[in-house]
Symmetry: C2
């Protein structure tokens, strides 16, 4: 039975987890820590967390589970800072989108405590950021991918799984490499494309008309371009090789479509669009 | 006062217009025509249209307004086929997404009657196709762009505008060229990118995991890849130069992001993502 969960980084994901835990009936203490003190004050006011500390070793003291919910490139520094206060019996997990980087940073920072670190990633988000956007039901019926290493303690994996289950999420395990390739394709690539598309539109003629006449299709397509820039910069820099690999594939496929448009190749366009439609329709079922 | 509207092509857009007209209190007759007779029978059963004809000249006989709602490359053939039945006092409009092509095809097919043809484009759609997906409220609070030529009769523009206003749409006018550039950027480019992305994912490793773990971001981003392949093939082939032009810009911007990832250029990534987020957030307001 967990008596205290400490959440480092009380933005959209950390804040939503706090709210969801409370809603699920979690009766213990939720401690928050964040670089942004006004966000912490807000989180206490909103009842999202019970208390906060600016000192990470103090924030984790007494915790059964410590959840890192910070941009991934801060993982090493945050772990090093909380280490002096790390309770003997605690487990640590995170929510980052590039697991190879997180595992490497955690291994370096945690040393002998690495067997209690359970790399994790809830497949949930919003284009809004910060604790004010936090939602109680953000994780319900969503996947959480854990990527435990061979050396990760099973009881630590079980405790983290139980926490995510308690807020309605479905936990699955993948290898670190599988996770990073799958996420590069389904999440990191679309984010890069959405940012690039909005950037393109901003640089074309008729900018005013473009945004005036953009329809629902564009709104949905570009939604993820409203995501947190710092988080996504970090994802790009830390899952670099998988992202560049899937970008290679994408550029080749886009090149094929472009060539078909240039050469009026009706057959290739019909086949490609029909195949994509069929695949996506199946995905939705 | 219109007594009859003839809708050639009773799919998603044509079917939705019929339903919306009926809902708006239009008391006249709605006649449908479509290559797919079972869709027409369905449309009559659903009460979407009053009657149908397989013969286009018969379908337009008695019509005050004729609305073409077919894939754009069929514009010329459809107009040629309905021409023998064209009532003297009727006006013709269409809903196609590439106006230069439609105008050229219409000019060739209609000859002296071209002054009654009002090129139009409702900025509304769904990823679903066919009359079964038709929605009464599809056009409410949506834009309809008309691109009248210098030679287009003003009373024809007024009648088409009035029809769209009656179903809750807001009518604006653009030049043919402006329309085609604006739509290439806001609609045609995103469709091509969504089709290419789904095609990319289908060709990568871990396909099963990819679709199993894809989140809401991907669902929204790729929604338009479920659109009608024939319609989008036609759009690509008929708005070719504007689409290739915006693809050039897109590939350059994507190349900049790619280079920043390759060279760990944190600054460029932060700036690009922040700029895009800001632009899109403003667009939503």
């Amino acid at each position: 039975m967990n008596k205290q969960v400490s959440i480092i980084g009380t933005g959209l994901i950390g804040g939503s987890l706090a709210k969801a835990l409370r809603k699920s009936g979690f009766a213990g203490t939720i401690v928050g820590a964040d670089q942004n003190e006004s966000a912490l004050i807000r989180a206490v006011e909103l009842g999202v967390i019970d208390r906060y500390s600016n000192d990470l070793s103090e924030a984790v003291a007494g915790a059964d589970i410590i959840v890192l919910s910070v941009p991934v490139r801060q993982t090493g520094a945050v772990l090093a800072e909380l280490l002096p206060g790390l309770p003997t019996d605690s487990v640590i997990t995170d929510v980052g989108s590039s697991k190879a980087h997180v595992v490497s940073a955690a291994r370096q920072a945690l040393g002998e405590h690495m067997d209690r670190f359970v790399p994790g990633h809830p497949i949930a988000g919003r284009e809004k950021s910060g604790v004010a956007a936090a939602e109680t039901e953000l994780f319900r019926d969503h996947r959480v991918i854990l990527t435990p290493l061979e050396t990760t303690r099973q009881d630590a994996v079980d405790r983290v799984s139980q926490m995510w289950n308690s807020v309605g999420a479905q936990v699955s395990c993948l290898s670190v490499q599988q996770h990073d390739l799958v996420l590069a394709a389904t999440s990191h690539l679309p984010h890069v494309l959405a940012y690039a598309t909005v950037d393109t539109l901003a640089g074309t003629d008729y900018v005013e008309e473009i945004f005036e006449f953009a329809a629902g299709g564009f709104r949905d397509f570009s939604r993820i371009a409203s995501s947190d820039p710092v988080m996504w910069r970090d994802v790009c820099l830390t899952n670099k090789s998988a992202i560049l690999d899937v970008l290679d594939h994408f550029e080749a496929r886009l090149g094929d479509i472009r060539k078909a448009i240039e050469t009026d190749d009706s057959k290739v366009l019909t086949e490609t669009f029909s195949k994509s439609k069929k695949i996506r329709d199946n995905f939705l079922r």
